[in-house]
């Protein structure tokens, strides 16, 4: 992912981006200096924290906030799959099982959009359309519209993010009837993630060992796509409610089993940072 391209793209629309990041532009110099020191893998996180300073993504705090936040993510997913199907060729998304699976997932995302719009009593046009998104993430996934492997990698990041995003909002919905609906969407996203993972394993070069569940790695990211490290931050956790799961009660539960057996959540602001990489300026989540 070329971060300088992303910043340049933003500057075209938001001429004050550098000023927003730091009034004296020192922050940018600092960032370049830090950039030399940190690994490429950590860039999305570093970018996330930089953009957070500039635009200040917030965590949803009310039920309505959560529903609007969820709706934005569903728009993202729906438009991604819908566009892919509309431009699909036999080499981009092969006919047969692959296109059928993506159609199933696209239809679910559309149903989620309609459900959430209904819950929010939104009767007008969609709040986000295809042109509001940049699924190349500023050029990082430049061939996302033509390369099946790239398409699957981005789809995987979206589905695993979706699972973590809904999970993170559960506390705000606690005890509310809306929680049940959100959980019913959440587990459908997990089913999608499981299937996309199997599609990635079958089709993406070097990914044949990818499991339907998120395996342990030191960074939490088991996909081999370092540009999406932020999506998996914390998935390496093996302690739940203070209880160490690895080897629990003398069982042969390994570190990988321990990490796999519990999916972690992401905060709303962390999810927004990830989503904003794919959303054009002016429509970014705040």
């Amino acid at each position: 992912m070329n971060i300088l391209n992303i910043l340049d793209e933003i500057e075209k629309v938001d001429g004050e981006i550098y000023e927003r990041l730091n009034p004296r532009r020192k922050a940018m110099r600092d960032f370049y200096n830090i950039g030399k020191k940190i690994s490429l893998a950590a860039l999305p996180l570093a970018m996330g924290s930089m953009f957070n300073k500039a635009y200040g993504q917030t965590n949803p705090s009310t039920v309505t906030d959560v529903l609007n936040f969820a709706l934005a993510l569903e728009y993202l997913e729906y438009n991604y799959y819908n566009r892919a199907l509309s431009v699909a060729t036999a080499t981009y998304i092969p006919t047969g099982a692959p296109r059928a699976a993506i159609t199933t997932i696209r239809d679910h995302e559309r149903a989620h959009v309609d459900l959430l719009k209904g819950a929010l009593q939104i009767t007008g046009a969609d709040g986000y359309v295809y042109n509001d998104f940049d699924f190349t993430a500023g050029g990082g996934f430049a061939d996302v519209d033509t390369n099946y492997q790239t398409f699957l990698k981005v789809a995987l990041a979206f589905e695993d993010t979706g699972v973590r995003a809904y999970k993170g909002q559960a506390p705000i919905l606690k005890g509310n009837a809306v929680l049940t609906t959100a959980l019913q969407i959440h587990s459908v996203e997990a089913r999608h993630a499981s299937h996309i993972r199997q599609m990635v394993a079958a089709n993406v070069t070097g990914a044949s060992a990818l499991k339907p569940w998120i395996a342990y790695t030191a960074t939490g990211n088991d996909t081999g796509v370092t540009a999406v490290d932020a999506v998996y931050a914390g998935e390496q956790n093996t302690t739940q409610a203070g209880i160490q799961i690895t080897g629990i009660n003398g069982t042969a539960t390994t570190q990988s089993h321990a990490a796999e057996s519990f999916d972690e959540f992401l905060t709303g602001s962390d999810v927004k940072k990830i989503a904003n990489l794919f959303i054009k300026t002016g429509k970014k989540l705040s």
């Binding site: 149903a111 049940t180 959980l183 089913r191 799961i245 629990i248 539960t253």
Partner: protein, 239 residues
């Protein structure tokens, strides 16, 4: 406890007798919320008659312990099933399928043991299972049962979430249910590729295909379906 054997009641009694010190250290060292939960549970035990645990297990839904014990019961059932499958998979299972069923076995063991430790003295005993309706040598029987358990597990967690009062345990249930959904999709795809989220086939579990919603069932309905596989009598109160 051994992973490759079903727990028996005798084993559990023995472990309870020997674990007084273990439980005390758990209270000292476990995370604050788990410890607090265990302490409250210990307090409640004096005031509540659980009956003769040898004749059954009681799920009291008046508080989170009931919900957690309900989850513990379902995880016991799933773990027992996968332990049996993983120890002697159907001969037609591929190497990859054997490895992934091994993974699933340990995920369910991890869930089961997590709830056991989190509940501590409030935990119900080990359930006796009845798998007489399953042909463990037949891939289709094993896969159909695995699918039923996973889809039911997802519906159970989705339906029980709204009952959970503790934020920590609500999030924990969320961390587990998505892994169950990953299992469900994987097993479904083996049975029929592309059926990973065939919500129309899950309307009996509360799924709504037109809205893209997975299953969600109340505990009484879930236990009604799971009851066929559980010998131990399960008493449900305050639902």
């Amino acid at each position: 406890m051994k992973n490759n054997e079903l727990e028996t009641k005798n084993e559990l009694d023995e472990s309870l007798l020997n674990s007084a010190v273990g439980r005390r250290s758990f209270l000292q060292y476990a995370g604050a919320s788990a410890a607090a939960l265990a302490l409250v549970a210990a307090g409640c035990r004096k005031d509540r008659n659980f009956g003769d645990i040898s004749t059954g297990a009681t799920l009291d839904f008046k508080d989170d312990f009931g919900v957690l014990n309900y989850a513990y019961a379902l995880e016991q059932l799933e773990a027992a099933f996968y332990v049996k499958v993983a120890s002697a998979p159907p001969s037609t299972f591929t190497t990859a399928q054997r490895a992934y069923f091994q993974d699933i076995q340990f995920h369910e063991i991890a869930h089961r043991e997590f709830f056991k430790n989190a509940l501590s003295t409030a935990a119900i005993g080990s359930l006796e299972v009845d798998f007489s309706s399953i042909d463990f040598t037949s891939a289709s029987s094993v896969l159909a049962t695995a699918m039923a358990f996973e889809d039911l597990g997802v519906a159970a967690y989705n339906g029980a979430g709204v009952r959970i009062k503790s934020t920590d345990y609500l999030v924990l249930a969320g961390k587990i249910v998505s892994v169950e959904a990953r299992h469900a999709a994987y097993v479904r795809d083996i049975i029929s590729n592309g059926s990973f989220a065939d919500l129309a086939s899950m309307t009996a579990l509360g799924a709504v295909n037109a809205s893209g919603l997975d299953g969600a069932l109340t505990p009484d309905k879930v236990l009604g379906i799971a009851g066929k596989y559980i010998k131990t009598k399960i008493n449900v109160i305050n639902l």
